[in-house]
């Protein structure tokens, strides 16, 4: 199993550009998440999904969009990049809440995005 795979690992964007961060998991997890981590800070939830076709906002959704057309994939879209979106983005997945008795999230390696 590859686990959670994120691409790209690094990207520099100009203000106003758009891009999509890709995330795929091969563990057949129902739940998927996108977090952002600013320097020296914890993770903040952007969006999450409890299954294909279902998405919901997290703590900091403004400026982002997501879709979940398959169980495996959960791309994050930045439509008009702004310097405030400079961060490290982590995708994660998990079994359904309580299904396996733990809240263990499996994280990808992260995507470092810089907006100039």
């Amino acid at each position: 199993n590859a686990g959670v795979t994120q691409t790209p690992k690094f990207r520099i964007l100009k203000i106003g550009q758009s891009m999509t961060l890709q995330c795929a998991q091969d563990m057949n997890h129902n739940y998927m998440y996108w977090y952002r981590q600013d320097p020296g800070m914890g993770l903040k939830l952007i969006y999450y999904s409890v299954g294909a076709g279902i998405t919901d906002k997290g703590e900091v959704p403004n400026g982002y969009n997501v879709s979940r057309s398959t169980t495996e994939d959960f791309p994050l879209r930045l439509e008009l990049a702004a310097p405030s979106q400079t961060s490290v983005y982590f995708c994660a997945s998990s079994y359904s809440a309580g299904a396996r008795g733990t809240g263990e999230l499996f994280f990808g390696e992260g995507s470092r995005l810089t907006v100039l």
Partner: protein, 113 residues
């Protein structure tokens, strides 16, 4: 408001000693707590969790203690090794769900050889 914070942002421990990482939470409705380890350049990795109906849980070289009276959580790592050097995050949730974990800012643990 809801917050999960840490008492110390950095902690240095001699190799072989025990380390204790602390975490305070403010949401009394939280009933599930998790510790994650994040090594440099990697995503967080699950270490151990505890539900609010417990006050202690042990894993391999790690113990989590929960004091609901003072809303305090700690992670004890026994016989620290160089590989334990990382940033440690506590996270909390309500109703034992995954969807909206609230993460603290993290403590950087450095193991001194």
């Amino acid at each position: 408001g809801e917050s999960v914070g840490l008492h110390l942002p950095t902690l240095s421990v001699q190799e072989g000693d025990n380390s204790i990482i602390n975490c305070a939470y403010s949401n009394s409705a939280s009933d599930y707590f998790i510790w994650y380890k994040q090594e440099s350049g990697k995503g967080p990795q699950f270490i151990i969790d505890i539900r609010s109906n417990m006050d202690k849980r042990q894993g391999q070289r790690v113990t989590v203690l929960l004091n609901k009276t003072v809303k305090h959580l700690s992670l004890q790592i026994a016989a620290t090794q160089p590989g334990d050097s990382a940033v440690y995050f506590c996270a909390e949730n309500k109703n034992f769900g995954n969807e909206k974990l609230t993460f603290g800012t993290g403590t950087r643990l450095t193991i001194i050889p």
